[in-house]
């Protein structure tokens, strides 16, 4: 008998990372404010790479300014460049807000961005300046998910203002979701007669229509006025599983302005969507609109119709931690069997979150934080999965294993419509369930010698 090879040899290097760097997440969050422009304090390459990466997914304009470090800047500090850069951005774009994220370079040389911004404001005293929001995003800490959350908090910190509570106004802090998800969430809150303030809201800006003239900054986004009103909302709904609660934007609104924060899982799947609707019933005092009861009914009916095609099918899930937890919950509900849940993030909460939302599968499932795609591949090959669920970077593995890849999350670089993938709510569960079930049927059809045309 041949001795089993070790599943995974440890590598010090990261091989095909299952994560991106912190500034990318910050740029995404900043682009959800109306008229805002992200600005990276570092080398030119950071903004160009991140732009290309995001444009390839969203297929929309994505301008990110840069302070364009040169050798002198790295030696003498980036103060001069950031001031000049901000002035040029204001002249070129006239933004409502500039979201300034640092990079590994500016953080390593110890640039005091706070002080630079203070000086910039002083230099331009009496002028109407855009809001300047700064977040520290050295790429040697955390992942793009961390950068996203920290930037959302920074926006709230600068823009939100206290005041008398505005009845019916509900803050929605959704986490890193698709434009389609953001649209769905705004709609559901509105359908309960509430007025949502969604932060950030890049649903139009990163999934917009055609233009009648070129726009320096694409239309859409949370308005500055709405972001300010967040401190006066009746409640905050904050979604997530693995984020740092103590430093979340919802927590900040609660401690600073006394806005109660309701923390929920990302509403992926029936149970999590039910929980969201229950919460909205509680906040609004209204019953669930009939529309949603109908959708839920059709969804569960479709689960029943197709349950035997998906039951026990083995799934490898990968991507941002919150997405992995949400998708795992959704899949466990229908009898799919996640056998490997993996992420490049290191929240130390992935396993406990999965146990909480999908206790029925958690014991039989490998859960790995801080892994790269090659480690995921090593594990996956041992686990004989039927299906991969995650972003398009999993295609290499899907091809190798000859199994379908259900594309969710970010980035989707090898298909169109990444921005339109709906993950949340009954509709998101319906769309993802249909695509999973149909991919499995297609595999059966392909693998069959008969080539049957009827299931």
């Amino acid at each position: 008998m041949i001795a089993a090879l070790p599943v995974s040899k440890h590598f010090t290097a990261t091989r095909n990372a299952c994560k991106l760097c912190t500034p990318l997440g910050a740029c995404l969050a900043f682009s959800g404010i109306e008229g805002a422009l992200p600005f990276l304090h570092g080398s030119q390459g950071c903004s160009t790479y991140i732009r290309r990466y995001m444009i390839s997914h969203f297929r929309e304009p994505m301008d990110i300014a840069s302070s364009n470090f040169g050798e002198h800047t790295a030696i003498f500090g980036g103060g001069k460049n950031i001031r000049l850069g901000l002035a040029n951005v204001i002249e070129g774009y006239n933004p409502t807000m500039i979201g300034i994220a640092t990079t590994c370079l500016s953080e390593t040389i110890g640039d005091d961005v706070k002080m630079f911004l203070h000086e910039f404001r002083k230099d331009h005293e009496g002028e109407a300046l855009p809001h300047l929001v700064h977040v520290a995003t050295p790429s040697y800490t955390g992942t793009h998910a961390t950068g996203y959350h920290d930037a959302v908090r920074a926006i709230v910190d600068v823009l939100a203002e206290g005041g008398e509570t505005q009845k019916g106004v509900v803050n929605l802090i959704p986490g890193m979701l698709s434009p389609a998800d953001l649209r769905w969430l705004k709609q559901v809150v509105t359908d309960f007669g509430l007025a949502p303030i969604l932060l950030p809201d890049y649903s139009d800006r990163l999934d917009g229509g055609t233009w009648s003239q070129y726009m320096k900054l694409p239309p859409g986004g949370t308005t500055i006025a709405d972001a300010a009103r967040m401190g006066q909302a009746e409640a905050t709904l904050e979604f997530g599983f693995t984020g740092e609660v103590a430093t979340s934007a919802g927590t900040l609104l609660e401690t600073k302005f006394g806005v109660p924060c309701h923390r929920l899982g990302i509403p992926m799947g029936v149970a999590a969507t039910d929980a969201l609707l229950d919460k909205l019933v509680q906040i609004s005092g209204r019953p669930v609109p009939d529309l949603y009861a109908g959708r839920r009914g059709r969804l569960v009916d479709s689960f029943i119709d197709a349950h035997k095609y998906v039951m026990g099918k083995r799934v490898v899930v990968f991507g941002e931690e919150d997405l992995v937890v949400g998708m795992t919950a959704m899949m466990a509900e229908v009898g799919l069997k996640p056998v490997l849940c993996s992420s490049g993030g290191r929240s130390k909460k992935l396993a406990e979150s999965i146990r909480a939302v999908a206790p029925e599968i958690a014991n039989g499932c490998e859960i790995h934080e801080g892994v790269d795609f090659e480690e995921i591949a090593d594990h996956a090959k041992e686990l004989a999965p039927d299906l991969l669920v995650g972003n398009s970077k999993g295609y290499k593995l899907a091809r190798e294993l000859n199994i379908p890849l259900i594309r969710v999350g970010f980035p989707i670089h090898d298909r169109i419509g990444g921005a339109r993938i709906l993950h949340v709510g009954y509709d998101g569960a319906q769309a993802r369930f249909d695509s999973i079930a149909n991919s499995l049927l297609e595999m059966r059809q392909q693998d069959s010698n008969v080539g049957f045309t009827y299931f």
């Binding site: 590598f11 994560k19 160009t48 790479y49 364009n68 590994c104």
Partner: protein, 456 residues
């Protein structure tokens, strides 16, 4: 403050042919706060070395630089696929504080043992110099211990522009050149420099040369192999495309080994034919010249009738070209002329004075020449000049689409070969597909600007 489409500091980088004496500013650091379409030093090195398929490419730094360059380019390999892996030391906060040398050393030992590469390139990113890592010393040690030549690439992002990255890459390649055995190399031989085998283009070009009876010693770096590069100093001639990235290496080989250089482009019928004739002429061999004549005649006579139907639809349409280097823009203008199209805007990220001078000579009156432009300027000129097509890379694509005009990807991410005679046909198809697509009729802006009643 008032807003403007063109920042004061950017004005010298823009020239309208005929409007003023030609004196464009170029080869400068991008203006802070302008959204340059350029990348950085690291990017320059990475694009040049990436296609060497049997080498290990390790990026020393935090994860971003490696993540954003993982298997994005269409630089294909006929054999090993090691270059498509993204290896990073993924530096963490403690590495930044205590230094990343140990991590780099350990990472390299494991990777070299596992993947057994022919050589290893170690790219330094922004913070490596700042935290004081002695990458050279680690590379020397690894080379000595593993026997795999491990070469540092000094590509810290902020140390200049993308062009300085090309230079760092050429220095790294220079370490390999001259270390292999040149026995048996034909006097009728060349190296192909500066073609990156995007969508298999190097194969097309190599095939032409071989049909001419010319031996191709090394392709640098498209479908590149370490051992070929080691012996490429045995070739009789260096044929350089993408001169921005490869002139330095070719010059080094000229000085050290006396290998002459010719500069070519493989885009468009004229430039492609000229490249083959120039090589044949240089090699001064009757058979090669006869083969070249036959090849060009066959290819061109096959191609011209096929282009006719595209030209019919494209005649008189207006194009904008924005490329990495300016030399390539020249070929684009000629190729567009072949299709009956007029270039109204031409620019590049990293062109030099000489290239821009040739570009403006070739251009029609009123053509806008742009150095290191940004989305605001591009959008402004595309609207003003009423372009029907933008040729560029992924970052430029949404500008075209939101303005309601066609787009052709001519950058390294593309998966369609545009070089050579067959590439010209692909180019015509690509341009035709986008310019004549019915979708524009549904889009608001295009409807307003161009198609108000002129459609049959």
């Amino acid at each position: 403050m008032t807003t403007s489409d063109i920042l004061e500091a950017r004005k010298a980088h823009i020239h309208e042919k005929g409007a003023a004496p030609f004196n464009i500013a170029c080869e400068k650091q991008s203006v802070a706060g302008s959204v340059s379409q350029r990348a950085c030093v690291f990017c320059g090195s990475r694009v040049v070395l990436y296609p060497i398929a049997d080498a290990l490419h390790v990026i020393h730094g935090p994860i971003g630089c490696a993540a954003y360059t993982w298997d994005i380019r269409g630089a294909w390999s006929s054999g090993p696929q090691l270059h498509r892996m993204s290896f990073s030391t993924d530096l963490q906060e403690k590495d930044v504080i205590y230094g990343g040398e140990k991590k780099l050393y350990q990472a390299l030992v494991e990777l070299i043992e596992h993947y057994r590469p022919k050589a290893a390139f170690i790219y330094s990113t922004c913070i490596v110099g700042l935290i004081g890592d002695d990458v050279e010393a680690i590379c020397r040690r690894i080379s000595a211990e593993t026997g795999v030549e491990t070469i540092p690439v000094h590509s810290e992002g902020f140390k200049g522009s993308k062009k300085d990255g090309y230079s760092a890459a050429c220095n790294a390649l220079g370490q390999l050149v001259g270390t292999g055995d040149t026995t048996g190399i034909s006097p009728l031989s060349i190296n192909i420099l500066g073609d990156f085998n995007i969508a298999g283009e190097t194969w097309v070009i190599k095939d032409y040369y071989e049909k001419m009876g010319v031996e191709v010693v090394a392709t640098i770096t498209g479908d590149g192999r370490v051992d070929d590069i080691r012996r490429c100093h045995g070739a009789a001639l260096n044929v350089v495309q993408c001169s921005g990235s490869m002139t330095q290496l070719a010059t080094m080989m000229k000085e050290k080994y006396g290998i002459p250089i010719i500069r070519v482009s493989y885009f468009g019928i004229e430039d492609m034919s000229k490249a083959l004739y120039d090589v044949a002429e240089y090699l001064n061999d009757k058979t090669v010249m006869q083969n070249t004549k036959n090849l060009v005649r066959d290819e061109v006579s096959k191609l011209i009738p096929q282009l006719r139907r595209y030209k019919q639809d494209l005649k008189g349409k207006r194009a904008a070209v924005y490329t990495g280097g300016a030399f390539k823009a020249l070929s684009m203008i000629r190729s567009l002329r072949t299709l009956g199209m007029k270039t109204v805007i031409a620019g590049s990220q990293t062109g030099n004075k000489q290239d821009y001078a040739r570009l403006q000579e070739l251009s029609d009156e009123g053509t806008i020449i742009l150095d290191d432009t940004n989305p605001l300027e591009l959008a402004k000129f595309l609207e003003e000049k009423q372009a029907d097509l933008l040729i560029g890379g992924v970052k430029e694509r949404p500008i075209a689409y939101k303005l309601g005009l066609g787009f052709c990807d001519h950058n390294h991410e593309r998966k369609i070969g545009l070089a050579g005679f067959e590439g010209m046909l692909n180019f015509a198809k690509e341009v035709h597909a986008t310019v004549t697509s019915p979708v524009w009729k549904l889009a608001a802006l295009r409807g307003r600007l161009h198609h108000s009643g002129d459609e049959s």
